[in-house]
């Protein structure tokens, strides 16, 4: 009985392994394979959480560097409470933004300070304006950038650190920048981080690696704000299921005792 059970489970595991092997298809199979270095993230693994300091610092980088071109349309100011900011701090952060609201009773649009319930105010009025201001290239919304790219966190970090000198024979198009990790190596975005781009409120040294790690942690949170809750619920669910399934197995053995 147990032998048959284990052989069944083994067979299922082998089948699952075969499937997952069949599925492990690199996304950019056609062009050149670009190896993306892995980084040790605070949010990796089944118990990983977003480092709160990194979230606050990463938000500072986003606000001071990225936000001049990239929107964050799916994140609201109220979501920042997750970083450990209290209600008043969130209100203050939201109020720094100017929101165009309306129409009012006179039929006019008007400006007002942001509220915690507002979503992050986008840098451009629309996509066309965004393109016009960026030489025709559209700076994508960053709300989901980490889950919308294969191996997203490592990819975005590599990209931010990947502005190196092009190989001598590399033909560069007008207005493009060389990046070691971008597909095709020509990216419209100019090198965004140099190190010492901001002064961190918590005094952490602002090396380019530190800045990249912080802003990617922030963007990973923006992509999957539910991750910590999800993993916590997952641990509870699995513990329950393991015990419950064990009990079901014992019951099954008892009921079947007189059959075998």
């Amino acid at each position: 009985m147990i032998a048959r059970l284990t052989s069944t489970i083994a067979a299922v595991a082998i089948a699952a392994g075969a499937w997952s092997f069949a599925l492990s298809t690199p996304a950019n199979a056609a062009g050149e394979e670009i190896e993306i270095p892995s980084h040790d993230w605070s949010f990796k693994g089944p118990f990983g959480t977003y480092d709160r300091g990194a979230l606050q610092r990463g938000f500072q980088i986003y606000k001071n560097v990225c936000a001049s071109c990239h929107a964050l349309n799916y994140v609201a100011y109220r979501n920042l409470e997750h970083f450990g900011y209290n209600e008043d701090e969130v209100k203050a952060i939201a109020a720094e933004a100017t929101v165009i609201d309306g129409p009012n009773d006179e039929g006019e649009m008007f400006e007002r300070p942001g509220k915690p319930s507002d979503r992050f105010v986008a840098p451009f009025a629309n996509d066309k304006a965004a393109r016009a201001a960026n030489g025709g290239a559209f700076p994508p919304d960053l709300s989901m950038i980490v889950k919308a790219r294969p191996d997203g966190a490592n990819y975005v970090r590599s990209l931010l650190l990947g502005y190196v000198d092009p190989p001598a024979d590399f033909k560069m198009m007008e207005g493009m920048n060389y990046n070691a990790y971008f597909g095709g190596h020509q990216i419209a975005m100019a090198k965004p981080l140099y190190g010492d781009d901001v002064t961190y409120e918590d005094g952490t040294p602002t090396s380019i690696e530190q800045e990249a790690e912080d802003v990617v942690t922030f963007l990973a949170w923006a992509s999957e704000p539910e991750m910590e809750e999800r993993k916590r619920a997952g641990v509870m669910t699995l513990l329950f299921l393991l015990v419950f399934t064990g009990l079901l197995y014992a019951t099954k053995r008892k009921i079947w005792a007189d059959v075998h």
Binding site: L5, T8, I9, N79, M144, T237, K252, W256, V259
Partner: protein
């Protein structure tokens, strides 16, 4: 036959509407072969997966907006702003994959143990219908989040119909409700994605009716000879299915909570953009073997025909494999070819995820050819040339060992009912 219910209310209702007698008959005392292995768990698991999909799907539909301008945002709002929306969506998203995993194992179990053979041909064919309906449902469901893969997957697959001679293009226009995949397409896909699961429920009921006509096949593939070969469904198989469900949920929860996007494609978190084609348009993993067959054939119409043919061949399987022996356990050569077929299908799955170029296409052609050879040449030939091993006289004989010393034990369960 009519069960003796002690509860007077149940008795009163049952006298007028014999629903309790029916359930007692079909889900309680229903005689089931006593030697079913854990491979027989996957039927009930598939049923449970269907229920999980319908419950989460209806909940998602309460928050989803089927419009090209809002669909993507509404899904992201479900993930971020609806209470436990992320959980409901991830269950639904991964549930589709797990539904297919369970059903594919269920199908391969049927293939190995000859569950498609007389008198279970219609049972098998209804199963193939369910699989087709599942594929249609899953395909349309994948379009709803309106990400890049949603849009381009829909474009590629609906375009297949343009391969039909003469009326192909009008049919595609009719399917789209316009001249490209657009809002009318999304709307009708949503409507059909909501409808089809209930059609599946209907066919599942027929599948169970056909199953209960002759009862389950079993690992030995021989007919039940009498009461000593069977045990009542409840409590024996209810508890065994419950335990199997527990194991299933452990795997399922591991994905939902810890790798929810592992089986999805990152491009589907980019909003649909008709002006920008992804470098590689790949369907969900469960379509990859069929996608590989489609692309293996150099001609568009030919590819479509072979792809649908790979499923159509399953419909006539009961008449291709004429061997009177059901179970692969007693078919030494069939057994080898069964495993080769399994490897072939896994290989096709892998190829389906690769770009259609160079060696991949050549390999896909061989794998496709082998798939059809298995069903159209190997199985009919084996029915003639293979000498099966001798079959046991009855189910209880091998279970009890040659002596049959435990004869009393088999009678006991019936008395307890």
């Amino acid at each position: 036959m009519a069960a003796n219910f002690s509860n007077p209310v149940v008795r009163w209702i049952d006298h007028r509407l014999p629903i309790f007698t029916f359930l007692h008959h079909e889900a309680h005392e229903y005689p089931t072969p006593k030697n079913l292995s854990y491979w027989w768990n996957f039927g009930s698991l598939a049923g449970i997966a269907l229920v999980i999909m319908i419950v989460t799907g209806i909940t998602l539909a309460m928050h989803y907006t089927p419009h090209v301008d809002y669909a993507f945002s509404s899904v992201e709002r479900i993930m971020r702003d609806v209470n436990f929306g992320w959980l409901i969506r991830y269950i639904h998203m991964n549930g589709a994959s797990f539904f297919f995993i369970v059903v594919y194992i269920h199908i391969f179990r049927g293939l190995y143990y000859g569950s498609y053979k007389a008198p279970r041909e219609i049972l098998w064919m209804l199963g193939v219908v369910i699989m087709l309906l599942m594929m249609a449902t899953a395909f349309m469901g994948y379009v709803l989040p309106w990400g890049q893969m949603s849009f381009w997957g829909a474009t590629v697959i609906t375009n297949l119909f343009s391969a039909i001679p003469l009326i192909g293009d009008p049919i595609v226009t009719w399917l789209w409700g316009g001249f490209s995949v657009d809002n009318p397409t999304l709307n009708r896909f949503f409507s059909l994605h909501f409808l089809l699961p209930f059609v599946i429920v209907g066919v599942v009921i027929l599948h169970i009716v056909a199953l209960h006509r002759f009862g389950s096949n079993n690992p030995l593939g021989i007919d039940v000879k009498g009461q000593k070969d069977t045990i009542p469904f409840h409590p024996y198989y209810t508890i065994k299915d419950a335990f199997g469900l527990g194991v299933f949920l452990i795997f399922f929860a591991a994905f939902v909570f810890f790798a929810p996007n592992y089986m999805g494609h990152p491009d589907n978190y980019i909003p649909a953009n008709p002006l920008s084609t992804p470098a590689h348009i790949v369907p969900e993993w469960y379509f990859l073997p069929f996608y590989a067959i489609l692309r293996a054939i150099p001609d568009k119409l030919g590819g479509v025909l072979f792809m649908f043919g790979s499923i159509a061949v399953l419909f006539v399987l009961p008449w291709l494999d004429r061997s009177p022996v059901r179970s692969g356990q007693f078919r030494p050569i069939f057994k080898i070819f069964f495993w080769i077929l399994l490897v072939d299908v896994v290989f096709l799955t892998w190829l389906g995820g690769k770009p259609a170029e160079g060696t991949y296409v050549i390999l896909a052609r061989f794998a496709t050819a082998y798939y059809f050879i298995h069903f159209l040449v190997v199985l009919p030939a084996l029915s003639i040339f293979e000498t099966p091993k001798p079959l046991p006289k009855s189910i209880s004989e091998p279970v009890l060992g040659a002596g049959g010393g435990f004869a009393g034990a088999t009678a006991a369960p019936r008395e307890k009912v």
